[in-house]
């Protein structure tokens, strides 16, 4: 009787424990779902901010298929681009118009990375070299600072950091919170000068003027061509993760974490403790390495390893794990470039560094010189300082000024010019237009010196 009561109590306790565990799992799942999207966005942004901190515009997701000379169409206004760039950390390169083959590589690298009397057909001979040279090995090297991050609430498995070592490491730790670092190793760069690329772009734009004509300015909307001048690639990333979770509550849901393999219990009757410990550690290490390799090596139906990163464990303990992720061939993670506004008839504006546009730096934009010629002085005087005789009794000088601004605006509109009346008054490069205005309208509007 007493035994039966004890069994019932135990069953009740177990039932409560299972219920509690189920509730805990459900709660963690729900919390993970609710926060997963934010975590992913935050992680993607953190990653991109790190790359941006190195004055490089991030490529997201990572890809091999971007190279100097690539032309993208950007139809998002600059202020919106800046807003998106700050929100997401990167800009989608989705409207890939064309790929120019830069012709100035030889001159650019002739006295540095091209051997004497050697010529290379770039980017192919650096990206996919023949012979014993490995991919990207001949390209100039680059170095980047390490990237620190934290993850919480089980979002690690969906983490947007484009390195699979992070979710694999989190699963090894079986952690709901971790802090870590990613170090970009084996980084390479390849680029070409802006001037030669801009000249090629002008030739390209002339050839495709009809197409670009569709994307000329309309209203306040200006479209841009974005041209990649330099790319950065990496062959290896090192990922280190530290378990940052707190288990003071004592509730463990799920199976023991894999890194516990490194500290198994010693055999009770073993006489050689150190040998047994070493053997246990080696066995645990091998098992972990197999788990990591299995997680990192995606294979196709024929058993061939698919392109992408492969993982190799480099260090592990019960609360930390480190691994290297190799990209063979190296993969592009950032770029530099310039933007050109598309004017009417498909003509191009001056090249402006993409980085300057996106980062809200104190951009000077277009440099203008204040007009000081006689036509400017006459026109500014007429607009801003109307003579007393020209001001009707029921109006103020300011009213007359506004009217005259409107008259100039109307004249500009008829000519379909791409500036406003204030620019006509002030820009030194519009002297001929001012003279034309004075010639056409001077007598009608009684504009005198």
């Amino acid at each position: 009787m007493r035994t039966g009561t004890h069994q019932r109590r135990m069953m009740t306790l177990v039932s409560h424990a299972v219920g509690l565990a189920t509730f805990a799992t459900f709660a963690m799942f729900c919390t993970g779902c609710a926060s997963s999207r934010n975590e992913v966005q935050k992680a993607a942004k953190d990653w991109c901010m790190t790359i941006r901190g190195s004055q490089v515009i991030p490529v997201y997701p990572l890809t091999e298929d971007i190279q100097p000379g690539d032309i993208f169409l950007v139809q998002v206004p600059i202020d919106k681009q800046q807003q998106l760039y700050e929100q997401n950390g990167f800009l989608a390169l989705d409207n890939h118009l064309d790929r120019m083959n830069p012709t100035n590589y030889a001159k650019f690298y002739d006295h540095s990375f091209f051997g004497k009397d050697q010529t290379y057909d770039l980017p192919r001979d650096w990206i996919r070299p023949t012979g014993t040279n490995q991919s990207w090995q001949l390209a100039p090297h680059a170095a980047f600072p390490s990237y620190s991050f934290t993850v919480r609430n089980g979002a690690g498995m969906n983490l947007a950091v484009p390195v699979q070592g992070v979710p694999v490491g989190l699963s090894l730790l079986a952690s709901d919170a971790a802090s870590g670092t990613i170090e970009i190793k084996d980084a390479y760069t390849m680029g070409v000068d802006t001037i030669s690329l801009y000249q090629q772009l002008e030739t390209w734009a002339n050839r495709n003027a009809d197409f670009l004509g569709y994307f000329g300015p309309s209203g306040k909307q200006t479209n841009f061509l974005r041209v990649v001048t330099r790319i950065y690639a990496t062959g290896k990333m090192s990922v280190s993760l530290k378990d940052a979770s707190s288990r003071s509550g004592g509730l463990d849901v799920g199976v023991p974490k894999p890194v516990n393999l490194l500290v198994p219990a010693l055999p009770a009757n073993s006489t050689n403790t150190s040998e047994a410990a070493l053997q246990n550690y080696t066995n645990g290490w091998n098992t972990l390495s197999q788990i990591v390799q299995a997680a990192g090596a995606a294979k196709d139906a024929a058993g061939n390893i698919l392109p992408g990163g492969s993982l190799r464990l480099t260090a592990a303990s019960t609360r930390s794990v480190s691994m290297d992720e190799s990209f063979t061939p190296p993969i592009v993670f950032g770029y530099l470039g310039f933007d050109c506004a598309i004017a009417t008839n498909g003509e191009l504006g001056a090249p402006i560094p993409t980085y300057a546009i996106l980062d809200r730096l104190p951009v000077l934009g277009t440099i203008r010189h204040f007009a000081s010629d006689s036509s400017a002085q006459i026109l500014r005087g007429w607009v801003n300082h109307p003579k007393s005789a020209d001001i009707p009794a029921d109006k103020t000088a300011r009213d007359v000024t506004k009217e005259r601004e409107g008259l100039i605006t109307a004249w500009i509109k008829v000519r379909k010019a791409d500036y406003n009346f204030a620019a006509l008054l002030d820009r030194s490069d519009l002297g001929s237009d001012r003279q034309l205005f004075l010639k056409e309208k001077g007598a009608e509007y009684k504009i005198t010196q």
Binding site: I352, L364, T366, R368, F370, V383, K402, A422, L425
Partner: protein
């Protein structure tokens, strides 16, 4: 459109220039006195 920077505007013309560009729809006009104290740099956005 990218901002336009006028780097050499005489002080006497700055006031009317700012007013003209605001009338023309500029969202922001920044005036900085140059080292010569005679001219200003005006950034029109």
């Amino acid at each position: 459109m990218p901002p336009e920077t006028y780097d050499d505007v005489p002080n006497d013309d700055v006031g009317t220039m700012v007013q003209n560009h605001i009338d023309a729809g500029a969202k922001k006009v920044t005036v900085t006195l140059n080292d010569d104290k005679e001219t200003c740099t005006v950034v029109v956005e």
